[in-house]
């Protein structure tokens, strides 16, 4: 397996590190951010932000032909005492405050949703149990908007679980007050036919901590766009991701961390395994350190383990730095095949092939799974990985 590399600022890599006066992260999008779908032309597939995505499999989410149906998704929120759970109208002031849609599908979702879910954890409320948001696809088309807000010094874990079959476009806003701590686990455990495109916007308050864990197993096409910006200094972000891309699946994770204020940290680790014909994983990791963001400390890494022939990975880390007054900035991307020498070594110790493969894949994910910090999710993930591997051996 190819080793992840630490690439010093300014050197050339498979991705890009640009020391630029003008942001290419922003300008390489084909249109400026907007809440109005009409501000985005229908993508044709050659745009930078769409070039990896199979538009023909988006079931019309990108061109206005996907019309919301009655039975789209069913959302059930389970929250511990003290948490405020609301369903609100489009004109609610909290909607859209964490970020603006940056592409056609996100704007379509914003333009088309009817009611939004809002979950609020009041000031200084520290939850000991997770908030669970179950999103179950009922076979239809849905546009959704969800807001999760933690007031100052609140602490919470939110698990958003996607199952069933749906064509879903959504925006999710995470608003973190000063000193708040939010862990969000978004699990995409869809049925095989589901299409899910979503933009996640996190606005991290002063001295707040945001941890996002994105876990993608299912779906025909899943395209997620977690984005983070800071509302004050001292914020910390951890973006963890894990995906297991099977034959025929397209799983795309595009991330942006916008270091727009000084003295914030970010750490991005995404790992994926792929198996089967036409399995396609895309990882785009954009980190922007704006001129004002002195004292920034950031690192991003993507690793992929290709288990069989016929799978494809596109991994593009992109670090853009507008100030040299930073603590650290780095990125790494590595995609390796399942290593025959590892397999030989384990088998030469009597371990049967399927068990050897399982050991290696579990090992590949283990460190990341341990960082999630939500016990039942960790167990479910490990079980899910086992299940995926069983399928590959069969």
């Amino acid at each position: 397996m190819a080793e992840a590399q630490n690439i010093p600022v300014g050197s050339t890599t498979a991705g890009q590190i640009a020391v630029a006066a003008e942001s290419t992260v922003a300008t390489r999008m084909s249109a400026p951010p907007s809440f109005d779908v009409a501000d985005f032309p229908v993508p044709h597939g050659r745009e930078e932000e769409w070039r990896f995505t199979p538009l023909e499999r988006l079931r019309g989410l990108h061109d206005g032909t996907a019309v919301a149906t009655g039975a789209g998704v069913k959302v059930v929120v389970e929250a511990p005492e003290g948490v405020i759970v609301e369903t609100v109208d489009r004109d609610d002031a909290r909607i859209g405050t964490a970020g603006t849609p940056v592409d056609r599908v996100a704007a379509q979702a914003y333009s088309a949703f009817e009611k939004a879910g809002v979950v609020t954890v009041p000031k200084e409320t520290v939850l000991t149990e997770p908030i669970r948001i179950a999103v179950h696809g009922e076979g239809g088309v849905a546009y959704a908007h969800q807001v999760v807000e933690l007031k100052a010094f609140a602490e919470a874990v939110v698990v958003i679980d996607h199952t069933g079959d749906a064509v879903l476009a959504a925006n999710v806003d995470y608003i973190l007050g000063d000193g708040a701590k939010l862990t969000v686990v978004s699990v995409q455990d869809w049925d095989d036919k589901a299409v899910h495109v979503a933009q996640h916007n996190a606005l991290v308050g002063r001295d707040a901590s945001f941890k996002s864990v994105v876990v993608t197993f299912g779906g025909d096409v899943v395209r997620l766009h977690p984005r983070v910006a800071y509302a004050g200094t001292g914020g910390e972000t951890e973006l963890l991701g894990l995906y297991f891309t099977d034959a025929g699946q397209h799983q795309e994770h595009r991330l942006l961390v916008d270091h727009n204020v000084p003295h914030c940290k970010s750490n991005v680790v995404y790992k994926g395994a792929l198996q089967g014909e036409q399995a396609h994983a895309v990882w785009i990791g954009d980190v922007l350190i704006e001129a004002a963001a002195e004292g920034t400390d950031t690192y991003e890494m993507n690793r992929n383990l290709v288990l069989t022939d016929g799978a494809r990975v596109d991994s593009v880390p992109n670090l853009e730095i507008e100030t040299g007054e930073i603590v650290g900035a780095g990125h790494a991307s590595a995609t390796g095949r399942f290593d025959d020498e590892q397999l030989f070594y384990l088998m030469a110790r009597g371990i049967p092939e399927h068990e050897a493969r399982r050991l290696v894949v579990r090992g590949f994910f283990a460190e990341l799974v341990q960082q999630i910090g939500v016990a039942d999710i960790e167990e479910r993930l490990l079980a899910k990985i086992e299940e995926e591997l069983e399928a590959s051996v069969a």
Partner: protein, 254 residues
């Protein structure tokens, strides 16, 4: 009594779009309790013999036979060979990221023994084996071969040898890259296993140094893909004095 019989073994490898014959008729019988040293210059095919016996997919057996207690080893997959009692201590053990030594050893022992070792006795067994090899207990929590020094890798190989108790152990240049202290510790480990009298040992080496610690019953000179001379321990002394020149004349070896 366990016996490994290698008869007229021919092995090729694909390199640069050409098929190259590396082993050109190897004959050797290793019996339980015996130690055979295979010595030869670089490129003579010693390691190819080791990896061919273990079943590495890079090598193609074109003719000959290998029997372990009458069973056809060449028909077995790599893991079946290990479970049948063949062990290869590798010259370059492979890193397995994310898999701890303790998990690896237990998985391996379970496979080779046919049942999971009882946890209490197993923990003790591993701990004692590690102590004998001067290995820090923290070693068990590290990932297999990841960041190991050369000496640590070789001690880890011998640890596996002690725990898996094979019928035939092939040690491929276990001495290479070791300083004198590490060589002594590793050799003591091999000797403990040999003293049980239950293992046949095939010690592959370029140097005579390790033979001061591990006394072979037989020494074979390997050159040009086969054994060109066999004798007792005194043959090693001759090689020590005279080197391999006598065997490499005629350009059969790289």
């Amino acid at each position: 009594m366990a016996t490994l019989e290698i008869r007229d073994l021919h092995v090729t490898v694909e390199a640069d779009n050409a098929t190259k014959e590396i082993l050109k008729g190897v004959d050797l019988t290793v019996k339980q309790g015996e130690t055979h040293a295979i010595m030869g210059p670089n490129g003579s095919g010693k390691s190819t013999l080791a990896y061919s016996l273990a079943g590495h997919p890079k090598y193609t057996i074109t003719s000959g036979s290998v029997l372990l207690d009458g069973e056809d080893v060449l028909e077995m997959s790599v893991d079946e060979r290990a479970r049948a009692g063949l062990f290869l201590a590798m010259q370059y053990p492979v890193e397995v990221p994310g898999v701890s030594v303790s998990n690896f050893l237990r998985t391996s022992a379970t496979a080779v023994r046919g049942e999971a070792p009882k946890l209490r006795t197993w923990v003790k067994e591993v701990k004692e084996a590690m102590e004998r090899l001067n290995m820090d207990p923290a070693f068990a929590e590290r990932n297999v071969n990841e960041g190991f020094s050369g000496g640590e890798k070789k001690r880890h190989e011998i640890l596996q040898l002690e725990l898996l108790k094979p019928k035939v152990a092939i040690l491929d240049e276990t001495d290479s890259g070791l300083d004198v202290d590490a060589l002594r510790i590793v050799s003591e480990g091999v000797n403990r296993v040999r003293e049980t009298g239950e293992v046949g040992t095939l010690l592959i080496t370029h140097y005579t140094r390790i033979l001061r610690y591990i006394k072979p019953d037989f020494v074979h000179v390997f050159s040009g893909g086969r054994i060109v001379e066999s004798g007792g321990a005194e043959l090693a002394d001759k090689l020590e004095d005279e080197g391999y020149e006598a065997y490499t004349k005629g350009g059969v070896s790289a």
